[in-house]
Amino acid sequence: MVKSGTLILHTAARILMPLQLLFSVFLLLRGHDEPGGGFIAGLVAAGAFTLYLFAFGVSATRDVLRMVDPRDLIGMGLLLGMISVFPAWFVDQPFLTAQWWEVPGIDFKASTPLIFDIGVYLAVLGSVLAMVMTLMEVDKDEP
């Protein structure tokens, strides 16, 4: 049912998708201090891909995603979420206690909350994309 869109939609999607993705990464990274964060950023990124989906269809979107299946993104996200649980254990603190590390040279602090947030981002992105793409693919199969 979702036919490829009009010229305007095509052009808009092509330009907007990278911008939206960039914006989502921006939201993700600044989330700890300003409005944003993994959940919101994941939704924005999912929105970007969904726009592309509507404009060009499932197979084109799969090409854009290359080798990455949305389902793998879910797994990656959950894995990162779990990974961020453990570092506290090594310094003898309860699980999930946030750990902060200074990265020398640049003004950037690596931390387990950041890893966790990236996990949330990927899980949200993967879940939404998986749902939307599955719905669209099933449509395609229908006569």
Partner: protein, 777 residues
């Protein structure tokens, strides 16, 4: 040590890799693990014999009072040695028995996991830790009974074993919690050191009944004995290991472990000795009805488990010494006999004893091993089983209560067991040669070493009883009794009543063996009666569960979305309404101070909601629900919650997209509800709305707790290095919740994929018959 034991789980995970490296010899490699542990435990024997109790403390979840502390005293050391020694031989044996089996890897993984769980169960000092291991043994047992998962019977038996033991496990958990509350401690060793505190506690009766339910189901006591013979659907190494030597003794272990703290009361003595004696007789009696060698052995295991329970029930010093002796003797000969049964099945291709005969010249070693083990089972001197049986008779004679009943049951069980021993140990090997489905020949060495060693031990310990008596059994019996005792075993007790009973039972048993075919024919008439036994009760119960769940599914979960929503909303009204209206007086405390733009936003919300209910077009319903969503987002932003606002906006956008995708797949809009139903729906929805409004307004005026938002605001920057408190809550303060949420989200996505793709798969399945996927273990 804890880590050494638990490393077995890691080893189990690496079993597939080891298979790639070592191929068919993996069993031998894996057997190093229990063998090493067995050596370590052997090294502890001298210390434990001196009356020492080793405590290896290790905290696990201190906040819940759970520890991984292991306590090694006589009882747990005896069990640990049985588990590791027999485990070593079973692994070696399985390498031969399951040679070339495509699922050998899976077998290794599960049996290693079981071994570790069982060790944890007997070594753990914490009640809850022990319970965790207890349940792990139930689960691994389930996986092992159902090892041949393509076989319907195996699956059914596995499920039955799981249901019975796990139902008992639930009772056990309740019992353990009550035990912890009654004693005020979660450590077995502390509870046992309390003297009469537990026995005089008000909770004694309920907690004992719950614990007994757990122990009786696990150890296949009457009337829960039926799952054990069915568990023989498992491969023979599993039967030899789990269902005779180790797992089924877990219930017995628990009772023995708790004996110092709980035993000795009227209730304990009454229930345990009677149930034990009944189980003992039932097992022995049902055994001779069967011709399947594994079933014969399984029922005789039921008989042995009953004997052990009975001895714990009698509870005199002599009975507990007999308990420890019988436990060791049984594990030795029954393990050997099961492995012999596996050899016979493997080499002849049949499990039916009546189909075998005259195999001795073809498999001389097996025949010898079987003979020794069977003589020990029958309790013939000079084997270890004889000593155990003498002690058993002695303690039955000194039983305080129900002596006549127990004595009668014990004597009948004894001679029936002797017949069983003869059927298993003599019948296949002597007499005239019979044609078997496979041409029999001697088993490979890997399958002979285990039963041979166990049989030799039966003989050795029988000839030198002081070896076992002064050693481990003293320590084990002391641990069960709760104070040090001296055990001195000997073969010759003089001419006394137990010896005469032994002789009489030998004669009767042999006579029964000679007329077995005749007796079995007569007993076949009892079959209709047997069909109404406890197993029928289990079937009826399971059927009842199916009927009830069928009924409640039809009522509550009939597949109509509107029905689900109504059930949920009604539940909400019931629960919230009850506590709001009856327990708190709804108090409305608010003052009207609204701005113009707030009125506009709320107006949009209400309009959207109203329009969505009356519109007859799906698209406009989606749009009006969307308007509601965006209005809510606006509200968030108005009250300065930008993160929530953004999230709401994005979620709303995606929801609209998803709805639009789904919308086109729906059938044409139709009005299915009658006016009456619609009025009902309005009432339900209206009361839910009114109730929630009341709830919010009431909650506004209640200030029961100090809000934690102050703490979060104060510590956001110094502790969590973030100025956006919403995000700090999500990824730091409440990270565990978020972790749970992304898992839920992932599950939802998997659910969508499964629902849609499986339907698409149905269509593909109609086109081509699906091939059964080969299992790649």
């Amino acid at each position: 040590m804890q880590l050494a034991v638990l490393s077995g789980f890691v080893l189990a995970a690496f079993a597939p890799l080891l298979h790639r490296w070592f191929g068919g010899r993996t069993s031998l490699v894996l057997a190093v693990f229990p063998a090493a542990l067995a050596l370590w435990f052997l090294g502890q024997v001298p210390a434990v014999m001196d009356g020492e109790v080793l405590t290896l403390a290790l905290e696990w979840v201190p906040s819940l009072g759970m520890s991984l502390t292991f306590v090694i005293d006589g009882l747990s050391l005896l069990f640990a040695l049985l588990i590791t020694v027999i485990g070593t031989f079973v692994l070696i044996y399985a390498g031969g028995y399951l040679k070339g089996h495509p699922d050998l890897v899976r077998f290794h993984i599960v049996i290693l996991a079981f071994m570790v769980s069982m060790l944890g169960l007997v070594l753990a000092d914490g009640l809850l830790t022990m319970f965790v291991f207890w349940e792990l043994t139930s689960i691994t047992s389930y996986l092992l009974i159902g090892f041949n998962h393509a076989d319907l019977e195996a699956r059914k038996s596995a499920r039955q074993g799981l249901f019975v033991t796990v139902a008992g496990g639930l009772a056990l958990m309740a019992g353990l919690v009550m035990l912890g509350i009654a004693g005020g401690s979660w450590s077995l060793s502390e509870l046992n050191a309390m003297g009469d505190v537990l026995r005089e506690h008000d909770l004694y009766a309920p907690l004992l009944i719950c614990l007994l339910l757990g122990a009786f189901t696990k150890s296949a006591q009457f009337p829960f004995h039926f799952w054990l013979p069915n568990a023989m659907a498992a491969p023979t190494p599993v039967s030899a290991y789990l269902h005779s030597a180790t797992m089924v003794k877990a219930g017995i272990y628990l009772l023995a472990r708790l004996h110092p703290g709980l035993g000795g009361t009227e209730m304990w003595i009454g229930i345990l000795s009677v149930v034990g004696a009944l189980t003992m007789f039932t097992g022995a009696f049902l055994a001779i009805r069967h011709t399947n060698i594994k079933k014969l052995l399984a029922y005789s295991t039921v008989m042995a488990l009953g004997t052990l329970t009975m001895l714990l029930g009698i509870g005199t010093e002599g009975a507990l010494i007999a308990f420890a002796t019988f436990l060791l003797a049984h594990s030795l000969y029954k393990g050997a006999l099961f492995m012999v049964a596996g050899i016979l099945d493997h080499e002849t291709g049949t499990k039916d004893v009546t189909a075998m005969g005259g195999l001795r010249p073809l498999m001389p070693v097996t025949a010898l091993v079987a003979l020794i083990a069977a003589l020990s089972l029958a309790g013939v001197p000079p084997l270890f089983g004889f000593i155990a049986k003498e002690l058993m008779f002695e303690s039955v004679l000194e039983a305080g209560r129900f002596r006549a009943l127990i004595l009668l049951l014990a004597f009948s069980a004894a001679f029936l067991t002797i017949a069983v021993a003869a059927i298993v140990g003599l019948r296949p090997f002597f007499g005239e040669r019979r044609q078997t489905p496979r041409v029999a020949h001697e088993a490979p060495a890997s399958m002979l070493i285990g039963p041979a060693v166990l049989a030799i031990l039966s003989l050795l310990l029988g000839l030198t009883p002081m070896l076992a008596g002064t050693g481990l059994l003293t320590a084990a019996a002391s641990a069960v009794i709760g104070e040090p005792v001296q055990v001195s075993l000997s073969l010759w007790h003089g001419i006394n009543l137990p010896l005469l009973m032994s002789l009489a039972s030998l004669g009767l048993g042999y006579a029964l063996f000679r007329r077995w075919d005749l007796v079995r024919g007569r007993l076949a008439r009892l079959d209709p009666l047997m069909a109404r036994g406890p197993e029928a009760g289990y079937e009826a119960f399971m059927h009842g569960v199916t009927v009830v769940s069928d009924w409640q599914t039809r009522i509550l979960q009939n597949g109509y979305m509107r029905n689900y929503i109504m059930v949920m909303v009604l539940t909400l009204i019931g629960l919230v309404g009850n506590s709001l209206l009856l327990r708190h007086a709804p108090a409305i405390a608010f003052h009207v101070d609204v701005r113009f733009h707030e009125v506009v936003v709320v107006g949009m919300l209400v309009m959207g909601a109203l329009f969505a209910t009356v519109t007859r077009s799906r698209l406009s319903a989606v749009v009006s629900v969307g308007i509601m969503g965006f209005s809510i987002a606006l509200t968030f932003i108005l009250f300065s919650a930008p993160d929530l606002g953004i999230t709401q906006l994005l979620v709303e956008t995606l929801t609209v997209i998803l709805l639009v995708l789904v919308l086109f797949r729906l059938p044409r809009f139709a009005s299915l509800s009658t006016p009456v139903e619609r009025i009902r729906d309005i009432i339900v929805a209206g009361s839910a709305g009114v109730l929630i409004t009341l709830l919010v307004l009431t909650a506004w005026g209640i200030d029961q707790f100090v809000p934690i938002s102050g703490y979060m605001i104060d510590n956001s920057v110094p502790l969590a290095h973030g100025r956006n408190i919403v995000n700090v809550i999500l990824v730091d303060y409440r990270a565990l919740d978020t972790l749970g949420e992304i898992f839920v989200l992932a599950l939802a996505a998997i659910g969508v994929i499964a629902m849609l793709k499986l339907r698409a798969g149905d269509k593909a399945a109609k086109k081509a018959t699906p091939e059964k996927e080969p299992y790649d273990g």
